[in-house]
């Protein structure tokens, strides 16, 4: 379970570039639920994800994972609980190392790194087996440099690496946004497959209305650092991409109005 309690974060406070990225955000994600977070650019959705992964510490508030208060834990320590796929397909893998070495690094996520041989024979067999499961013909190329693969292939492998050891929480940060449509579709299919098979607790950030409507069992909409909508269960299943777009339009329009009118609109629609 992930608990985010009253978390706020302001970047560059007291300067001209001051950005209130998160304003008093509270969100609890139950074990086994797949939460999709959507919002426009600058809505704070990625910041929320980074607050959970530990890229920075929140100004105020508390973050707990599996019952442990991790608010002050550095990123590498939280990795014990978290598997993560980045937006940039080149961020999640090490280009100069081989595919096998990358996978072996992931197979020890959150565990101490000592002087044991990294690529043991029985480990390689296990790698082959799981890479074959991707159906991407990569199992024969484990010795190749990761940098020789395409963005889609690397992102699929990053997903495999993030879930190699079952993570307590899987974080997906717009992980198909930088891929071509065909690769994106493939990675999304793989995501759905892995999350369902392993029953992973997942938090996925996206700005694709299509993905937001079709994936997950809960939908959180963010705007200007706040959660403005939270749909679950049947409510979420009914969502169509058009509904989501309409809601965004409402919010956008409300901003051109004076505060009271905006508040009225918000009550009406959100």
């Amino acid at each position: 379970m992930l608990e985010i309690q009253s978390v706020s974060k302001t970047f560059h406070p007291g300067t001209a570039q001051e950005v209130k990225a998160l304003r008093d955000v509270t969100l609890t994600i139950d074990d086994g639920s797949f939460v999709v977070v959507i919002g426009t650019n600058g809505s704070g959705k990625s910041t929320l994800l980074n607050a959970v992964s530990g890229t920075f510490s929140p100004d105020v508030g508390r973050i707990a994972l599996a019952g442990e208060d991790v608010t002050r834990w550095p990123e590498h320590r939280r990795a014990r609980f978290i598997g993560r796929v980045f937006q940039n397909p080149f961020s999640g893998t090490s280009p100069r190392m081989s595919i096998a070495e990358n996978l072996v690094l992931a197979a020890r996520r959150g565990q101490p790194r000592r002087l044991g041989w990294a690529l043991k024979r029985n480990v390689i067999d296990r790698l082959k087996e799981r890479v074959r499961g991707l159906n991407m013909d990569l199992e024969t190329r484990l010795g190749n440099a990761m940098g020789s693969l395409s963005g889609g292939q690397r992102q699929a492998l990053t997903l495999l690496m993030a879930t190699w050891l079952r993570p307590h929480l899987l974080l997906l940060d717009e992980h198909t946004a930088a891929l071509d449509p065909k690769s994106a579709e493939q990675v999304i299919r793989l995501t759905r497959e892995i999350v369902e098979r392993e029953k992973l607790t997942t938090m996925m950030v996206t700005h694709s209305m299509q993905q937001a409507a079709s994936l997950g069992n809960r939908l959180v909409m963010m705007h200007k650092g706040e959660i403005i909508h939270d749909a679950r269960g049947a409510d979420k299943q009914r969502m169509r991409p058009e509904d989501l777009l309409a809601r965004f339009e409402d919010v956008r329009r409300s901003e051109q109005l004076d505060p009271t009118a905006a508040e009225m609109l918000r009550r009406l629609y959100v």
């Binding site: 590498h76 280009p95 190392m97 002087l115 041989w117 990294a118």
Partner: protein
């Protein structure tokens, strides 16, 4: 022939320096100027311990340990106090100048009358060859010179194999990933700060080991001997990369060693042909500059050519 033998020996000894620079510069992407101080630190520590009667083997190992600590300090300045990589190296290098003077007690410690690893190797060589001189392809070679060369080759071989094995362990792969993609390896639970501290320690340990052996081979340690050595190491690494032209770990390590030897030979030849020794550092720096910039310029040319041929 003796000139060649001497150049080869120094080339091999300095290949430890090249390996150190390879670790910091290529594996961690960290231009580590501590090198200039830690090679002298290694030489100074080994020299003074040998003069005080410590067995040269222990003196050499302790010298490497001192280098490890110097590198660790640079790593701590960089990772714990967020000081820029170059600046943390400069700070430690500058501090080491005074440290080295304190270690030696003066600016130069001669070792000519001491028992060093070099004299041990010479003894073994003389005993083994039964005579002072033997023939190699028609050249007369003093057995003791050959012995020192073989001894340094053995050390470099052991260190290279050790490095190759280390960088294939769980810890070693995590270190390589730290240099290659820190964001990724942090997300996999590795404290990249710790990796950099240990990695720079390792790099400077190798550099100090190189300094300790160099002092014993040339018969003295001098407080000035480290000046420009990081550039020397970079030149070796770059030549090595051009020689092997590969990204596999084993080949790049071999490349760094070969680069060091070739560079030393080139320098010896240049000096023989009348290069003013005072110009050596200038030429070395110019060489590294050219090696860093030429590939980029060539790339631009190639692109322009490709574009014009497209059009």
């Amino acid at each position: 022939m003796n000139l060649l033998l001497g150049s080869l020996t120094i080339g091999f000894i300095l290949s430890l320096l090249a390996l150190g620079v390879y670790v910091s510069f290529r594996i961690f992407n960290f231009a580590d100027i501590t090198t200039d101080g830690s090679i002298t630190l290694g030489a100074a520590t080994a020299a003074i311990l040998i003069v005080k009667g410590v067995h040269p083997l222990w003196a050499t190992l302790i010298a490497a340990g001192a280098g490890y600590m110097a590198g660790t300090l640079t790593g701590i300045l960089h990772t714990r106090f967020n000081i820029h990589a170059l600046l943390s190296g400069i700070l430690v290098m500058t501090a080491l100048y005074s440290v080295n003077l304190h270690v030696m007690g003066r600016s130069n410690v001669p070792l000519l009358s001491e028992k060093t690893l070099a004299t041990y190797a010479e003894q073994v060589g003389t005993r083994w060859a039964n005579g002072e001189v033997f023939n190699v392809l028609g050249w007369e070679v003093a057995a003791r010179d050959a012995a020192v060369l073989i001894f340094s080759i053995i050390i470099i071989l052991l260190v290279s194999i050790g490095l190759l094995i280390f960088f294939r362990t769980n810890l070693g792969t995590a270190m390589r990933a730290t240099g290659d993609n820190p964001q990724m390896i942090r997300a996999l639970g590795v404290n990249t700060g710790n990796m950099i501290v240990v990695g720079l320690g390792l790099a400077n340990g190798l550099v100090a080991l190189s300094g300790a052996l160099l002092a014993q081979y040339q018969g003295f340690a001098d407080v000035q001997m480290g000046i420009g050595m990081v550039v020397w190491g970079l030149a070796s690494v770059i030549i090595g990369e051009a020689l092997v032209h590969a990204s596999q770990l084993g080949l790049t390590i071999i490349g760094a060693v070969m680069g060091s030897i070739l560079f030393r030979l080139l320098v010896a030849i240049a000096l023989r042909w009348g290069l003013n020794p005072n110009d050596l550092k200038l030429v070395t720096a110019a060489f590294v500059f050219a090696a860093l910039v030429l590939p980029r310029i060539l790339n631009v040319f190639r692109k322009q050519k490709a574009e014009t041929s497209d059009a």
